[in-house]
């Protein structure tokens, strides 16, 4: 059996005795706690980029998408105009061809009638 020293117990009591904290200790601890609780700039979603950089990137992407859509709309409008022009050009071509053929037909008919000597002579168009 181990014999305990007589002064052990008083010494232990002395060591475990409640002591006053140094002046300002509580304030310093509370200040540190408050500091740790502040949000740190780790970046949105944890990708290491500050929020403002994310905002700029988002704006750029949005501008590119909007630009692309606008360009597509302009192309559609230009295409519609080009299509209308093609149809108009073919329509005028058709009507011009028809008018020329009517003239040729009329001219041929007059010529034929004059050759056959049918009735009154219809004057042909003046040749230059």
């Amino acid at each position: 059996m181990v014999e305990m020293k007589d002064d052990f117990e008083p010494e232990l009591r002395e060591q475990l005795r409640a002591r006053e904290a140094p002046a300002g200790f509580a304030d310093r601890v509370m200040a540190r706690v408050a500091k740790r609780q502040q949000p740190q700039h780790r970046g949105w979603l944890g990708f290491g980029m500050p929020v403002w950089q994310w905002a700029v990137a988002t704006l750029l992407v949005a501008a590119m998408v909007a630009g692309g859509l606008e360009r597509e709309r302009e192309q559609r409008e230009q295409g519609a105009r080009a299509r209308e022009q093609v149809l108009l050009a073919l329509h005028i071509t058709g009507s011009t061809l028809r008018e020329v053929q009517q003239k040729v037909g009329a001219s041929d008919a007059v010529h034929e009638m004059n050759q056959k000597g049918a009735g009154a002579v219809i004057p042909e168009k003046d040749e230059p």
């Binding site: 299509r83 073919l90 011009t96 061809l97 020329v100 168009k125 230059p128």
Partner: protein
């Protein structure tokens, strides 16, 4: 100094690009001065200039399932250009026979065959159809139709097959005998070639005689 040279280069490039674009758009098979004069005198006018690039672009927007648009798409895909000028005047006498001649002159080259020619004293009832034939194939068409208060020119550049004209019959107002016109052009071209050969043969024979 270097920056100013660089800036001048970019400005020059931009000006050149703009000028090239303007030239490409402005290029016309008809006399440009006359076009301007006619446009000034006209009550209404329509000018359509579609080069190969524009035709290709327009073709992408033509609906192949629509009958008119589908046919237009098939035709323009092969063409190099379509140029249409249509002027409507308030009163007669807004153009002269000389004006018409200056337009016709553009197409009076050996490769063009005059197919239809109707003439009137003051030109106000003239009509022309010319076809460009290369190795017997139609490679272009020019139509002129003059009325007292209306004047139309059409120039189609590129291969126009008779079948195309036949396909178009009834659509866009193109008459059903346009196919016959095209055939007539070929026959006329053949006659011209035969006459040329005959003349050449006659000349050779005459030169051979003592």
């Amino acid at each position: 100094m270097r920056a100013s040279v660089r800036n001048a280069f970019w400005v020059g490039l931009a000006v050149a690009a703009t000028a090239a674009g303007a030239w490409a758009q402005a290029s016309s098979p008809f006399p440009v001065t006359l076009e301007k004069q006619l446009a000034e005198r006209a009550a209404n006018y329509t000018e359509v200039s579609l080069d190969k690039r524009m035709l290709d672009f327009a073709s992408r927007f033509l609906n192949a399932k629509d009958s008119d648009q589908g046919q237009a798409k098939r035709i323009i895909e092969k063409l190099d250009g379509v140029y249409v000028r249509s002027y409507e005047f308030d009163k007669p006498g807004q153009y002269t026979t000389a004006d018409l001649e200056s337009v016709r002159r553009q197409f009076e080259t050996p490769e063009w065959t005059e197919l239809v020619k109707t003439r009137s004293r003051d030109g106000s009832d003239d009509a022309d159809i010319y076809m460009k034939l290369v190795n017997g194939e139609a490679q272009g068409m020019f139509i002129l139709d003059a009325e007292a208060k209306e004047l139309d020119f059409v120039y189609i550049s590129g291969p126009i097959r008779p079948e195309d004209l036949q396909d178009l019959s009834g659509n866009f107002g193109i008459p059903s005998d346009a196919y016959a016109l095209s055939k007539k052009a070929k026959e006329k071209d053949q006659t011209k070639a035969d006459e040329k050969t005959q003349k050449s043969a006659d000349k050779t024979q005459k030169e051979g005689q003592p």
